[in-house]
Amino acid sequence: MSEMKKIKNLKEFSTSADRFEGANLLCPGCAHSIIVREVLNATNDDLVLSASTGCLEVCTAVYPYTSWDASWIHIGFENGSTAVAGAEAMYKALKRKGRLKQPERNPKFVSFAGDGASYDIGFQWISGCMERGHNMMHIVLDNEVYANTGGQRSSSTPIGASATTSPAGRVSYGEKRNKKDMVSIMASHHIPYSAQVSPNKWKDMVKKIQHGFAVDGPVFINAASPCTTEWKFDPKDTMTIADLATDSLVFPLYEIIDGKELNITYRPKNIVPVEDYLAAQGRFKHLFKDEYKYLIKEWQERIDDNWAYLQRREEARV
């Protein structure tokens, strides 16, 4: 059983990240670092971490420096999950053979990756890890874009967002397809736990991470990660944007246990219209032209529909 970290209040929480340094090269206001901090804050256990190629990786381990005070590895864009799976296999082998240096330790195995590294190029590797039942957690830093390479679309980029490979232009409103539903796909591997989290709801996040660390087997976490640079908002507004994401239900917070039981873990008291969420970000600016207003209406319908669907699933326990 993993050791839960008792954290009482936000101040204590925000100052207790001892394994991920504030010294890193991420943009001011980047949610990646906030999420990492929240995840690492959820446990006192030892950690074996990986990061796939992407903003988090290139900004936190630039030789001769490292922001990580925990075992950490980067191999490539697609295979961070499998690196952690390999390390977990080695842990099991050495434990059985009695060769661990600190046999009393109870490490947690975590791979961090962007949405590009997870939804697209790394999809197969993650699916393999989930299917094989490694005792590990894969966490997506879902900023809905390939940020590190300058803002190309991923299969997590939502309809209507302008990205460099799906730009809005004179005859285009940007991305044409809807975001891939990774949490459902991963839950369909019948893993013990999958969940969607957001950094503004840090208690909910910590609870889910602790749940994930406590179960035996693979865990998939999709974390909303507002990106100041590609979503185009002021760095001071990261948490405001995250609030808008969860409170408009663009990014609903829920968990799926054993691939079946769905629990909604946050119900906004006042659901805000999606328009507010879209209006706060430069990547959706063009949607407010008259000719694209219908898209905002469609956005709202999709969200309402999805919310109803999540609630039906919750009730039906399927």
Partner: protein, 407 residues
């Protein structure tokens, strides 16, 4: 539950794949992450079966691709234990990205490569296309000519790769089907003696040492990348061959079998010489012997260590030869063969007056016959007699249709 020892006869009849699998068992690999491909599959199947029968205590991770196989091996090696896998051809090609990652991170991993052609056209049989594809990936590459070698060289590969001065991954090559599926008598080493030879795994910068957390696989740009790569290359160039030589000597003490970085056969007084790799070395030696009976002073140089390439040993072996043929079992695709280039590079700036020509043979599993080698040695002798290369620089041996030759 402790694992069981296996009683082996002094000589077992094993093919190259099973010989390699037995070596992995005796080295007590901690983690194998693998994906099947012909003709290397039986190696990891062997490991899985040994595990199922309690002859090993490790972990077998049956991943979903070769890229994942090497990714898992990298994670496992960084965690700190003995790691191995096997592949061939398309699987090897899919692994290439990760091969560079493994060597750049200085992780000891042993990869058994059962050499096979690369598609297209699809072909499951042996040639050296995959071996050559990996030649710049920063791995140590050692070549087995027969099942006995496939067994012995695995022990040697682990000893060299895991040495803390070296910390570079190593490939053990053998020829698809010609070696991997040909059963021969293999002189065995007992489980205890074999394990003692490779020794306990000694971790370094291991991720499972939580008192000393480490960062693996950092980012470097123009400020540091060159230094890292230069250091890696330097260690390959200066440290690996002396280490291999030392381990070869230790292995001879254990087994009585002597391996050499460059395997010379009748080269001391030879006029003409064939340089080749893999199972052809044995055929070439037999033909060279027969040529000598016909009065042609023939020799054979077998390359045992492909990377780092043994320039000095090659120079030494070939310094008095008058005509040399470099045999490449891979389509060079727009250049003289790899081996031709390496030999030429080794001999350049030396006093040699040797005439050098290149031959491409045996692609996609095509046999190299003794008759072809007789012709080849005869052609080399003709070059010696004429005092110049009388044939084109590059020729294809045994290909149907019009004779293919270039340059």
């Amino acid at each position: 539950m402790a694992f069981d020892k296996m009683e082996l006869r002094d000589i077992e009849v094993w093919d190259g794949n099973f010989a390699a699998a037995q070596a992995l068992r005796q080295c007590q690999i901690d983690v194998v992450a693998a994906y099947p491909i012909t003709p290397s599959t039986p190696i990891v199947e062997g490991y899985a079966k040994f595990l199922a029968d309690n002859y090993i205590e490790g972990e077998f991770v049956m991943v979903e691709s070769e890229h994942a196989a090497m990714s898992g091996c990298i994670g496992a090696a960084a965690a700190g234990g003995r790691v191995a896998t096997a592949t061939s051809s398309q699987g090897f090609a899919l692994m290439v990205e990760t091969l560079y990652q493994a060597s750049g991170m200085r992780l000891p991993i042993v990869l058994n490569v059962v050499n096979r052609a690369l598609a297209s056209p699809l072909n499951v049989n042996g040639d050296h296309s995959d071996m050559y594809l990996g030649r710049d990936s920063g791995w140590i590459q050692i070549d087995a000519y027969c099942p006995q070698d496939a067994y012995d060289l695995n022990f040697i590969a682990f000893r060299v790769s895991e040495d803390h001065d070296i910390r570079l991954p190593a490939m053990v090559h053998q020829d698809g089907f010609m070696t991997s599926h040909t059963a021969q008598g293999v002189t065995t080493i007992s489980d205890d003696a074999a394990y003692n030879f490779v020794g306990d795994y000694k971790p370094m910068n291991d991720m499972l040492d939580f008192e000393h957390p480490v960062t693996h696989g950092v980012q470097t740009e123009e400020d540091w990348h060159f230094e890292h790569k230069a250091r890696q290359h330097n260690d390959l160039m200066t440290k690996v061959l002396p280490k291999i030589e030392e381990v070869f000597k230790d292995f001879e003490k254990l087994s009585g079998r002597r391996y050499n970085i460059v395997e010379e056969y009748e080269t001391k007084d030879a006029d003409v010489c064939v340089v080749c790799l893999g199972s052809s070395v044995e055929t070439a030696r037999e033909v060279a012997g027969e040529m000598r009976e016909k009065g042609i002073k023939a020799g054979v140089v077998g390359i045992r260590v492909i990377r780092p390439f043994p320039f000095a040993q090659i120079r030494d072996a070939l310094k008095d030869i008058k005509a040399i043929a470099a045999l490449d079992r891979s389509s060079p695709n727009g250049a003289p063969g790899m081996l031709f280039n390496e030999i030429a590079g080794s001999l350049f700036n030396t006093d040699t007056k040797a005439l050098l020509s290149g031959y491409v043979y045996g692609l996609g599993g095509r046999d190299l016959t003794k008759a072809q080698l007789v012709d080849l040695f005869t052609e080399l002798q003709a070059n010696v007699d004429a005092g110049k290369v009388t044939t084109p620089l590059q020729q294809f041996i045994g290909v149907r249709g019009p004779k293919l030759s270039y340059l």
